[in-house]
Symmetry: C2
Subunit: 130 residues, 2 copies
């Protein structure tokens, strides 16, 4: 598997984009996408020789990331791109992971299939079918 | 700059190593290193097509990461490898970062020069001189 992106929860994506681009020498590689299921706005930034940063802003107070933002936001999750999502999820369960969402055909990101798994110590992991 | 590694704070590095290797298809690429300044044990894991995972365990209750572990541990910091650390730190300050440590010749990691910067929203960032 390969690290595809790192999710960062921000309060205001419009102001966060230029801030992150300037601070970490990044460029935007997508438009801002509004995910109506997760109730978030997301923007991918690239230039780190492989993994992307994904800025995530809750669009409403019942968004999946609102609670995390209320505790300060910041580093939220890692996303790994995998060869076989079903095999990966079976392995994740064997390793103590709890599947909290998916596998769903994603509406959020290139229409690819994703799943979210929580590990007790590490927290939230996203898996993305290659 | 390039994402060099992602720091993850764990309670027990000895048990975390095989767990992370199995879960994320990683291999150890170093011995466990005891950093007497930060009072942590660290282990680098690789296989993600570039960035490493760094497992970090506090060695004592007054370690720099003990407070973070007491809140649950997990994703702790991002480390970027940079061409010119002095220039990067000047830029980081201009972007609102507060330098909390360094630049110091590191004893922890290949004897390279590092610095730690805190950004209000993102949290802790490590910069590593290329």
């Amino acid at each position: 598997m390969k690290l595809h992106h790192i999710g960062i929860v921000v309060k205001n994506i419009e102001s966060a984009i230029p801030h992150y681009c300037e601070t970490f020498e990044l460029v935007t590689i997508s438009e801002i996408f509004h995910d109506s299921i997760q109730k978030v706005s997301v923007q991918f930034l690239g230039n780190l020789n492989s993994p992307l940063l994904e800025l995530i802003q809750p669009d409403s107070s019942d968004s999946t990331v609102s609670n995390f933002l209320s505790k300060g936001g910041g580093l939220y999750h890692l996303c790994f791109e995998v060869e076989d999502l079903e095999v990966t999820l079976r392995k994740a369960r064997e390793c103590g992971g709890i599947i909290v969402k998916g596998p769903d055909p994603a509406t959020a990101f290139e229409h690819r299939t994703i799943a979210f798994v929580v590990f007790r110590d590490l927290g939230l992991i996203e898996y993305l079918q290659k």
